[in-house]
């Protein structure tokens, strides 16, 4: 299963650089922050369109091998908490290693 998350906006407070390269000594950390904050305005539509993995797209396992299959996974932001819901199938293996499936409450 794939979880997609859209970004509304991104910004940062400040930035600084560490380097052994002899960069301009007048380097202003505010210039760096301003540059990236401007860049973020272009990045936001891109992340929502391209959905890079581990940035706005996350793979969620649909199976815990040998134990459980997950279906109908839901994720909601409610009043002041994050709610997960799912309908699991518990897999019960016997000696012949053929799974005996038990449905969760439904």
């Amino acid at each position: 299963m794939i979880l997609n998350v859209d970004w509304e906006s991104i910004k940062m407070d400040s930035a600084d650089v560490e380097t052994d390269i002899p960069l301009d000594t007048s380097l202003d950390d505010k210039v760096i922050a301003d540059y990236f904050n401007f860049m973020f305005q272009e990045i936001t539509p891109w992340v929502n369109e391209y959905k890079p993995k581990s940035v706005t797209t996350f793979s969620i396992p649909s199976e815990i091998p040998g134990y459980m299959n997950l279906k109908d996974l839901t994720l909601e932001v409610r009043d002041n908490y994050l709610a997960f819901g799912m309908s699991p199938k518990f897999l019960v293996y016997q000696d012949d290693h053929k799974p005996r499936v038990r449905e969760a409450l439904s």
Binding site: K11, L23, S26, W46, Y50, S54, Y81, F84, P88
Partner: protein
Amino acid sequence: MLPSNNIVLDDNVAIDYNNMHGSEPFVRNKRIGGYFEGAVSGLGDDAVTEGKYAAKGDIQLDDNGAPYQFAMSSFLINNVLEAVLGHNQLSKEASYQTIVDSGFPIDWTSTELEGALPSLCDNIGYDVPLSAKFMNRGAPRFIFNKDEMSIKFDMTLEVWDKDLSKKYLDLNLNGMFIKF
């Protein structure tokens, strides 16, 4: 879900769930339910205890929702993240070719970054393709409520040559704030 990592958790850290005071487990509408209060122990002074990042949830189970339900407040999420990432780093590489193939809207070269880093081109040349590594500094802080879903974090962006064989510089990006 996480990039490859070598996260090590402190042996003293544990997640605890205790039955909420005044709330006993119940059977209702063909479901077993219960309210438990989660906490992360063993964090010491690193524990997230105050402010909007430690808001506890006024959690309500939905009797007609999914058969299995689990809910987490900002308080619990942020303390779990503190335990996992507070003193560990996740790192993710993005080679120049990966960046180009992704259609990234910024030309990730020395000439483009010169806008933020004057004299970069004087040192490494013009139009030099660059690669990057991203890593967290400390744990992120989430906010979840009906009005806002956001994350705030500090990160380091390492700027490397195209082949990821030579690092040019570290950019520390502080107070990154993403609103979802």
